[in-house]
């Protein structure tokens, strides 16, 4: 033990300190929370080989077992990161976050091993086997899709996950373990904001309605791929059917005007179409304005005296666009609109094949959306906003500060201590090989759900910045939701040689023979590929048909029989050769023994806790006693927990870190 380890050794005790040092952990995301988590991990000694083990380590331990912190992040550094992502400096802008984070954080502890990867966590190489190589995974992400993906990968790999998120002064941390706790998807997440189409296209009443109109309707119609159904605008039952039909015709007319792009009258044509003609049509619908203020028609010509030549307007607009804190006047908005249309037209004509997309950091697109939204706001008597404010609404920028990230990340790592202290599992990362140590993929069978460690008293923790009594609120971890589509299935593996000619029929036969399936369906990424009435695909090759892909593919097997066993999710992966496999198809299920309890039973039995485990090994009665003890405790704490939960739910809503685009997903 080095003297620099004194603090951690004194607080954690030697056994946990050793376990921390020998651990192999994955950090997904090196942004606001990620930088802070990495600092905490490095300074606490995670993945740092103890010096006293000397030279015998390196050669004997495979890469998958080396004590290490692996950091994965695909982003590059931006100026607006520097107020909180303290591992980055101005000279690092545009460099990969993962690489710079490693470079800076490595200096905090010379014995730490960091493997920085500037990749996308959705990439094929981050497959289930990759996740299985870790003792613990930390999520430090800024978007729902990646959070859900890592959640699923950790369930499939049966690795504990510490999920975290912040927004403004709020933050939260949640520990997740397959079969023990709720997973990230056990509770429905708030649906993305969506507005009725008529509110956006005909009767806006708030600035956001005009911004969505400019960003999701006008912009793509003129410069992008015209999309009838943008995710943030939907036809709902409150929408008038006739009106919706007229809006379609209106959009068609705009496409015609698109043909004028590049000509000097283009900006005026667009302007008069959307702020004059379309508004005049709306004004004609008297019943629409019985309880609303009638929109005001704008006409390009009425601004003619204030601008002499179109060239000047473009120049003026460019200068104005620099002042994004100011609220532009009507004429100023028109000037910015003209210059943005000019710039975007030039870009579209320069590369006709590539439609433009709105990006809050692409100034031309932001100028266009801000000015068009403001002009429309004026038309409907809605207050105008500065471009800076519009950027936040259009780009879904979530306020982010250093302290919330630091607080949340500190809780993540404190959770990690809890989990590791409570864990009676065999560690993946090791500094020294012993006879009992085997490859991590085999470890799966030994540890999968067997001990089901209770995460050492880990809790769901929320920052509570506005309270005068508490800095944090906690909530006991609760067992998985029995009907959660993501974590209630049994996870297993399906391996296939990369040159296999196995067909869907081969898989069906395998499932029938090995697992006794009768009525069942199989769902691949492409949709349902097999069910009792769908036999068209049986002769197709699993690989050529794309049912099995390298990397992150999953097949879900649903038992349609009366008994209704829980779903089986197979993570698929390629093996290089066919040894030990079924000689016919090469398809191989892992583990050998898969137990599929009935859905019914699992709900009644343990609230969804133990049913996902393999029963290949282990003392069933011991496991049952373990869970019973926990259930009793849970019952006692239920009342308090329920109260806290209700409160916590009110306080923390969307948990996204950096500029996540919810609307665009």
């Amino acid at each position: 033990m080095q003297r620099r380890d004194r603090g951690i050794a004194q607080s954690l005790g030697l056994p946990l300190t050793k376990r921390v040092k020998e651990s192999r952990v994955l950090l997904v995301g090196a942004g606001g929370i990620g930088c802070e988590v990495l600092k905490n991990l490095v300074c606490s000694g995670f993945g740092s080989l103890p010096q006293y083990y000397g030279g015998e380590i390196a050669s004997e331990i495979s890469d998958m077992r080396r004590p290490e912190i692996v950091v994965v992040d695909m982003d590059t550094i931006d100026l607006s990161n520097l107020n909180r992502q303290f591992l980055f400096r101005k000279q690092h802008i545009k460099k990969y976050k993962a690489l710079v984070a490693k470079e800076t954080a490595s200096q905090f502890n010379p014995s730490v091993n960091i493997d920085a990867q500037s990749g996308n966590i959705f990439d094929d190489k981050y497959d289930v086997a990759f996740f299985e190589g870790f003792d613990l995974v930390f999520n430090a992400l800024d978007n729902l899709a990646a959070r859900r993906h890592v959640n699923k990968m950790c369930l499939a790999a049966d690795v504990p996950l510490i999920e975290s998120g912040t927004t403004g002064f709020n933050g939260q941390v949640q520990a997740i373990k397959k079969g023990v706790t709720e997973c990230y998807d056990c509770n429905p997440k708030p649906a993305q904001k969506s507005f009725p189409i008529c509110t956006i296209r005909s009767t806006p009443s708030q600035p956001i309605h005009c911004i969505v109109w400019a960003k999701s309707y006008l912009f793509p119609e003129l410069f992008g791929t015209s999309e009838e159904d943008s995710a943030d605008v939907t036809v709902t039952e409150v929408d008038n059917v006739e009106e919706v039909a007229k809006l379609r015709i209106e959009a068609e007319a705009l496409k015609t005007i698109r043909g004028l792009m590049g000509k000097s009258e283009f900006a005026q044509a667009v302007f008069d179409k959307v702020f004059r003609d379309d508004i005049e049509r709306l004004r004609g619908m008297e019943e629409m304005w019985l309880s609303r203020r009638k929109p005001e028609v704008l006409c390009f010509e009425q601004f003619a005296p204030s601008m002499d030549k179109s060239e000047d307007v473009v120049e003026r607009g460019r200068a104005l666009a620099m002042k994004d804190q100011a609220i532009w006047s009507l004429a100023e908005n028109l000037a910015v609109f003209s210059s943005a249309v000019d710039a975007l037209s030039n870009r579209t004509l320069a590369s006709p094949g590539t439609p433009l997309e709105f990006d809050k950091d692409d100034k031309d697109t932001l100028d266009f959306v801000a000015s068009a939204a403001n002009l429309r706001s004026h038309v409907f008597g809605i207050p105008l906003n500065s471009e800076w404010e519009i950027k936040q609404m259009a780009g879904n920028i979530i306020p982010a500060i250093a302290t919330s990230n630091a607080l949340t990340a500190s809780l993540s790592v404190l959770e990690a201590f809890k989990i590791m202290r409570g864990a009676s599992f065999e560690q993946k990362g090791v500094s020294k090989l012993t006879i009992s140590h085997v490859a991590p993929t085999h470890n799966y069978m030994v540890t999968n759900g067997k001990e089901g460690f209770m995460l050492g008293g880990s809790k769901m923790v929320f920052l509570n910045s506005r309270s005068t009594e508490r800095m944090i609120t906690t909530q006991n971890l609760v067992p998985p939701q029995p009907d959660c589509a993501v974590c209630s299935p049994v996870y297993a593996k399906l391996r296939i040689p990369s040159n296999s000619s196995a067909t869907l029929q081969d898989l069906v036969t395998l499932l029938q023979e090995k697992l006794g399936y009768e009525d069942f369906s199989i769902q691949a990424d492409v949709g349902i590929i097999y069910d009792p009435d769908l036999e068209d695909n049986l002769e197709k090759g699993m690989i050529p048909a794309g049912y099995i892909k390298a990397g992150n593919g999953f097949l879900t097997v649903v038992d349609e029989g009366d008994e209704g066993r829980v779903d089986l999710v197979l993570s698929t992966s390629f093996t290089p050769n066919t040894t030990e496999a079924d000689p016919e198809s090469g398809l191989q299920l892992m583990p050998e023994e898969i137990s599929l309890p009935s859905k019914h039973k699992s709900v009644a039995e343990s609230n969804g806790q133990a049913m996902t485990t393999t029963e290949a090994t282990g003392d069933a009665s011991k496991v049952a006693a373990h869970f019973n003890a926990k259930r009793k405790r849970d019952a006692e704490e239920e009342v308090v927990g329920a109260k806290k939960r209700a409160k916590a739910d009110e306080e923390v809503m969307v948990v996204e870190d950096d500029g996540a685009i919810l609307l665009d997903d």
Binding site: R3, G7, Q10, N83, I401, T468
Partner: protein
């Protein structure tokens, strides 16, 4: 409260390290940049486009005006161990005007584990000097500099503290913290004290008298000016109509504070004392921290877990403190006591990050004049995920004659009057007011608790 004009003055008595770079960054930090075309902008006249771009994500949370106030703030940070490291990082990132750090202790090998601005080659160097260049790298707009030695600081009177908008003292013993606090209170400057011990930590705040704004959606229940708690009153309420049709309520409140020495002997708030249920939830960490303060005052060191005499003394102290706080007997468990003592003196980064992060957040909000500040003693237990805030308040002597008036203006005037008065004219029996550390006057005996509980003799 704090006069922000004085924030533009540079604190005196301080040694500027690597002056060239810092003078330049100071100029950047304090410049009232006018947009190049000469027209001023509407929402943030003082912030340059570069600053707005850099601080974008936080300005979107607290607004340009708060950012400007943060930018003009000079902060004094005393002690740069694990906790100070986190605070220095957070405040420098936030974009204050200057950070003056006082820590002249030599870097030891043990420091390297949790104080991540230090490297092997710094061993033996004064902590602040060694770390400052690396803190400076976080944000060249902030002037980060050394404030000299602790002994020099302790010899200063209140005029030394006046240029600072906030003073933060970490990881020192009770006497040192209290000595500094006594003078900051006289100077009417916001003061924070904090320490960590392994998984445990605390934050104390004495903001003297602090006005702040809360913005919230108007509820059906009317908010009206008046006293809310012993320390907090609502000064005014105004309504603002939003674009989306809702009404935002802008509530101006004031919190008044007492110094650490008084807080340390103050009872829990009446609403906790009046409820057995609430008393039962008070963590044993609170009496343990008070016991630690007393132990330090008596022995000028930390208790040693390995000697039975220390264990016995500390257990007695903790029991006494628990009784003094009127906590139920069963709340102080041997298991916790052992864990607490085991953690004494240890530094781990996650705890430092939480305590330092929460303290920094409070400082930033106080500078910005927004959000509810800590009142006045927060305790953190990273082993059990517990973080509570207790108001441990007794009316400071300078306010006693005027009673607990809810008239905020009157309190405010009093505080200012006190700030202007000479240090020896106050009748505060605090040992440190002459500027020497560890004044003997208060060693051994705790101040009489305001609620009339027994006074405990230690020696």
């Amino acid at each position: 409260m704090a006069d922000f004009a004085s924030g533009l003055l540079n604190p005196t008595n301080s040694t500027v390290v690597n002056s060239d770079q810092n003078l330049e960054s100071m100029a950047m930090g304090n410049a009232r940049t006018v947009p190049e075309n000469g027209t001023s902008t509407t929402t943030a006249p003082g912030l340059s486009p570069d600053e707005i771009a850099l601080y974008d994500r936080q300005i979107r949370l607290w607004g340009a005006q708060a950012q400007e106030r943060i930018r003009s703030a000079n902060i004094l940070l005393i002690s740069l161990r694990a906790l100070g490291t986190e605070i220095a990082k957070n405040l420098t990132l936030a974009g204050i005007s200057s950070l003056t750090i006082i820590d002249d202790e030599p870097v030891s090998e043990e420091d390297l584990g949790a104080q991540y601005f230090l490297r092997d080659e710094d061993i033996g160097e004064p902590r602040a000097e060694a770390a400052i260049p690396r803190i400076q790298e976080l944000n060249p707009r902030v002037l980060v500099k050394s404030g000299g030695t602790l002994s020099n600081l302790l010899a200063q009177d209140q005029t030394y503290y006046t240029p600072y908008q906030c003073i933060i003292a970490c990881d020192h013993d009770f006497n040192t913290l209290s000595t500094i606090n006594t003078i900051t209170h006289l100077a009417a400057r916001p003061f924070y004290a904090a320490s960590i011990h392994g998984f445990y930590g605390f934050i104390f705040a004495d903001l003297v008298s602090h006005d702040f704004i809360l913005e919230r959606e108007k509820s059906n229940v009317a908010t009206s000016p008046g006293s809310e708690t012993l320390t907090r009153s609502i000064l005014s309420v105004t309504n603002k109509k939003e674009n989306n049709g809702k009404t935002t309520e802008i509530v101006k409140k004031r919190e008044i504070y007492c110094p650490l020495i008084l807080a340390n002997s103050s009872p829990l708030s009446p609403d906790i004392l009046g409820s057995r249920r609430k008393l039962k939830t008070v963590p044993a960490l609170l009496p343990c921290l008070r016991a630690l303060f007393d132990f330090q005052r008596t022995y000028s060191r930390l208790p040693d877990t390995h000697t039975s005499t220390d264990l016995a003394i500390f257990t007695t102290l903790a029991t006494t403190k628990s009784r003094e706080l009127q906590l139920p007997l069963e709340s102080l468990k041997a298991e916790f006591l052992r864990s607490f003592m085991q953690n004494l003196g240890a530094e781990i980064v996650p705890t430092a990050a939480f305590v330092g992060g929460r303290l920094s957040e409070d400082v930033i909000n106080v500078l910005g004049g927004k959000e509810q500040p800590l009142q006045n003693f927060a305790i953190f237990d990273g082993e059990n995920f517990d973080g509570r805030i207790y108001s441990l308040y007794s009316t400071p002597p300078e306010l006693v004659d005027f009673g607990n008036s809810v008239n905020g203006e009157m309190l405010h005037a009093n505080v200012n009057a006190v700030a202007a008065a000479p240090a020896n004219g106050l009748g505060l029996s605090m040992g440190g007011s002459n500027g020497t550390a560890g004044g003997g006057g208060m060693t051994g005996v705790t101040s009489a608790p305001a609620n009339g509980a027994e006074v405990v003799e230690l020696e």
